[in-house]
Subunit: 434 residues, 2 copies
């Protein structure tokens, strides 16, 4: 079953595609020494070859039509690294229909159409491998389909967008506001010119959809994931977090309960003694809570050419070693093999909360605040009053006992109706390092 | 090739064996739902069944003779969880000779006889899986034989003994000396009654031998690994580390150079911004530096019944999914398939260093110290003088630029010959978070 050679076509020679082709071209003998298999890069398919040439890849590999690649019977695997959801989808479909397995890093496509593509792969006796779609080269997908197979996964929490984590880390360490740090990150090439997909949390949501579908063996509905980004975060709350022993991180959170799964992406407070609080700069990490193993964490670069290509090439190797037969065909953890578990509304999300109330004039207001929180059964664990800063009202900062999003939203709505309260900010708190 | 059922015998029903039997007995349907395979626990083999009974395992599984187990043609895998190097070795040999694959957590045995046992497995068409031998249920072995296969691994650093990390964490946070914390850990069941194997660093050395043999595809010589434990650490140096922005950890360090591999276990300073510095209590973690992926880290419980059993059961599942054929038979990374790379003497080890000199009377001594360091080409990055504590001489604390163990040993020897210097402590410093 295991052949002594394996022929690869890379479609899309950008950042990750270029890195993949470079590894296959330059490190082929190292990889052969480890695996016993000769990986042959036969095609680099793109419409422009500036990057391919800059990387020193031989012209003889270059083709412009992906149908040439998909139609070549010698090709064992088509590596889709174009990105986007249109041409990339056509390439993957064409490859699968030709019975070729596919490796992809395309999180947006998989989050939207993964189940459909996995089904198509099966119809055609092929497989889709996608380690590179989440957390770059860190083997988190393998952890879910292999390393933790002896476990029921109860929940996981990820810092899975490097741009957001870089911006938040800089806001904390340099005490600069969001707009300033974003501009600096863009100048340094650490944020896209249009950073929307990253900073609004939607890139994290794509990865959350993929990871949760594997962790919980379910099809997930991307559009039903509540997403909040870092673009409306106030430096004041980030500084308060720091003062109170927390760090603000953009977290992708997945919890399984008896009623279904609860998924969300949101900036949250996380206790400084939780290992995720230590993850700084552009690094990513995922903390997994499993019934037998307990808490484990996987950390590394979530983006970049060679780190992501490391995952792509690992998938190519796995395919050569029988991933299709031993994992993709056999395991029942893939979303196309499972019916969809209910995705609970955010109202059901349960955690501790941070509340910041900007209060014009405190007299008598505190009694109203306590009354509203009490009525909504929200217990207070800590209260801090910050003296007015220039042009600011008094800020009353509260942290709560565990409660639900529904209760907090209800209370926040009522608080906003008090005339002396000009602003109500709520952020959830993650503090269990199980 | 993949059967719909797989029959398991657990030999040794202690902490990990009990956990393994419990998972297979109680969670069989969950595992079948994920894997599509029916795992059948047929035997629990031991000479006493107190633990097995306490766990509610059915009496019908109990046998006392491992030859019954190894001779039963229905059994697909023998799980050796006896520990030690005598009976455990016989059980594994018997199983392999019967053509049955083996899962084991036995790090001492594998570190000493792994290459031989892998060879025996191959002769008999069987395999040995050993995820549970290092870092409990954290899939670090899989990371080396699967997730990072697209990389050359340059180095790795591990905190791979929970007892030592617990003791060091408590010494730092509670400012208590080694003996006091050890006694408390023993009372709390977090250190063995005879803690020698842990605190002298030899348990870490076993794991280092196993991890480095896979990371560098080489047979390693356990007896050639320089090992230093935490049992002679002074609270003074631990506090100094803290003051200077470091944490003291017992590190297992592996570096690959052009000349060979450099392995050691030793307490070291590690910069507080390195993720390994955050690993506290009984948690373990391994930082891996790979040519494509860069720095990645794997974190979790390194011991305990269910966390370790999680790795054992994952290995059983992998065997059912074809681990023998797709990984053990094919990959060329196993020590029995490779010749031994040279293991460099500790003299060649290169890092920054911390030096503490206890000086009776400072006048004129500093000039001699600077002279000796200069002569040995050791540059100083920081110098701190601590005022005498009760019954203590002045402590002169220095950190150095990168140098070699040979230079530091030579200098320390010369420094010890200065009559006014009563003590010289040297500890290496790890500060690169690549």
């Amino acid at each position: 079953m295991i052949k002594d050679h394996f022929t690869v076509a890379v479609v899309g020679c950008g950042i990750v595609g270029g890195g993949t082709a470079k590894i296959l071209h330059e490190q082929a003998s190292d990889i052969r020494n480890r695996t016993g298999i000769d990986f042959r890069l036969k095609y680099v398919c793109d419409i422009r070859f500036d990057n391919a040439r800059a990387l020193g890849l031989p012209e003889s590999l270059f083709v412009t039509d992906y149908k040439t690649v998909c139609g070549d019977p010698e090709v064992d695997v088509v590596v889709e690294l174009i990105g986007g959801k249109t041409l990339a989808k056509s390439v993957i479909e064409e490859a699968l229909k030709s019975g070729k397995s596919v490796v992809t890093a395309n999180k947006a496509l998989l989050a939207a159409h993964g189940t459909e593509l996995f089904g198509l792969a099966r119809e055609n006796g092929a497989a889709v491998a996608f380690e590179a779609s989440c957390v770059g080269g860190v083997p988190i997908i393998r952890t879910l389909y292999d390393g933790l197979l002896a476990n029921n996964i109860n929940s996981f929490i990820g810092i899975i967008n490097g741009t957001c984590n870089y911006i938040l880390s800089a806001m904390i360490s340099e005490k600069k506001d969001y707009d300033t740090v974003l501009k600096e990150a863009q100048k340094a090439g650490l944020a896209e010119a249009d950073p929307t997909l990253d900073v609004t949390g939607h890139d994290s949501a794509h990865k959350l959809a993929i990871l949760s579908s594997l962790a919980f063996s379910t099809d997930t509905d991307l559009s039903a994931i509540p997403v909040e980004g870092i673009d409306r975060l106030d430096l004041f709350d980030i500084n308060m977090a720091d003062e109170m022993g927390y760090t603000v991180k953009l977290l992708a959170i997945a919890q399984k309960t008896e009623d279904g799964i609860s998924l969300c992406v949101r900036p949250s407070f996380i206790k400084k003694d939780h290992p995720l609080a230590w993850v700084s700069g552009s690094f990513n990490a995922v903390s997994v809570y499993a019934n037998n193993l307990g808490h484990s964490m996987y950390y590394g670069q979530g983006a970049g050419s060679l780190p992501t290509a490391s995952a792509v090439v690992s998938d190519i190797i796995s395919l050569a070693l029988g991933y299709k037969e031993t994992r993709f065909d056999t395991l029942r953890i893939w979303p196309d093999k499972n019916k969809r578990l209910p995705q609970l509304p955010l109202d059901r999300y349960s955690s501790r909360y941070y509340l910041r109330l900007d209060v014009e004039d405190k007299t008598g207001v505190l009694a109203q605040v306590t009354h509203i929180l009490g009525k909504n059964k929200i217990g207070i664990t800590e209260a801090v009053q910050k003296d007015p800063q220039p042009q600011r009202p008094v800020s009353l900062v509260l942290t709560t006992h565990r409660t639900t999003e529904a209760a907090v939203r209800q209370a926040a709505g009522e608080l906003r109706r008090i005339p002396e309260i000009s602003k109500v900010i709520t952020l959830s708190i993650v503090d269990e390092a199980e």
